[in-house]
Amino acid sequence: MRPVLVTGGAGSVGKRVVQRLCKEGYTVRVFDLPNMDYTGLEGVEGIEVLRGDITQLTSVHQAVEGVSAVIHLAALLPPASEQHRELTFAVNVEGTTRVAEALKRTNPDAPLVFSSSVSTYGDTTGVKPPVMVDHSQQALDIYAESKIAAEGSLRESYPNTVILRISGVSVPSIQSPPEVWPFMADQRLEFIHRDDVVTALCAAAMVGGTSGQVFNIAGGVTWRTTGRAYIKDYYDLLGVPIEEAHFQEHPGWCDWYDTEESQRVLRYQSISYQAYLGQLRGEIEKMMQQ
């Protein structure tokens, strides 16, 4: 069986994508930087680990050799992306183009799933929700700028691409908040559970007939809320007054998104916002008992 390549496969979402594909019977090639943590991947039947660097041509050629599909997650994310513009473009744009060109030469039938971001829409607070996939793109930061450029490059170089514009990913674990939340208190917000993102990425590579399409990937109607309400739910669970939260005074990139078509094709929205809060509550109870 030809393997599915997962670039950035040792990262937080990547590892779960690899494990999900394996569980569904696929063989997987994980491609990531040598200094990543490969626990749970190395030595597992059906998983081939390839350490390399997406900025290096030889590495990329080795990675795409003989694959049946590619889920391309490798990227520099905020906050690192905002501190290293050149590296961000080298990884997020040139790295993506390198993967596409290598695929085009060796196996152009392999679908490429590209993880883009809804942050490419920029400030959409002035438009009527939900934000559609044909909405104009206007970057507010370096990361979004790099994703817009990478999408453009893929459209030109590799038609067999599916672009997923993924919303903010909510992870059911307790994490420190940033000093300032990157959205306004009254701004519309629709995040998505990490496991639903994994489902969407895997489905996009497997369902077929999605080449050339662009999908918004967000949690669905149960996740539609505002910045303040979302953070209040989190703080309430932790017993912290909402007054402790500080919000941006100018709009961030968050909004509600049109996911009707992505849900129809990919069938990935399975964890409601209430279920996510339940998982968080469970985590907290577990930690309190320790």
Partner: protein, 107 residues
């Protein structure tokens, strides 16, 4: 209202200071431990974790340890001082680990 975790941290620092003041200068190792606990707690007080309910069990335990050390010194009964100090160190290490939570993932 001051969060319970921070209230506990303040009480623990105070108990450590009183213990330090009452400790014999012939025990530099214990003094060093208590001094470093004070510094660590002062640093942790600004952490989000200390404001959450999650901090209550571990800071309760640390406060209890520190108060016990203080009582032992005040009563001049150091027979189990090392044992309580070791437990206190263990709880402080756990608190330090829990307070340094990972950052939020937002794409």
């Amino acid at each position: 209202m001051i969060p319970k975790g921070i209230e506990n941290a303040n009480a623990t620092i105070e108990a450590c200071r009183l213990t330090l003041a009452g400790l014999d200068s012939a025990d530099p190792e214990s003094k060093e431990v208590l001094q470093s606990v004070i510094e660590i707690l002062e640093g942790l007080k600004t952490k989000f974790f200390l404001k959450t309910n999650l901090a209550i069990p571990i800071t309760n335990a640390s406060r209890k340890d520190a108060t016990e050390l203080q009582s032992l010194v005040e009563e001049h009964d150091l027979s189990c001082f090392s044992e309580v100090l070791a437990r206190f160190r263990g709880n402080m290490e756990k608190l330090l680990k829990e307070a340094n939570m990972d950052g939020l993932i937002i794409t």
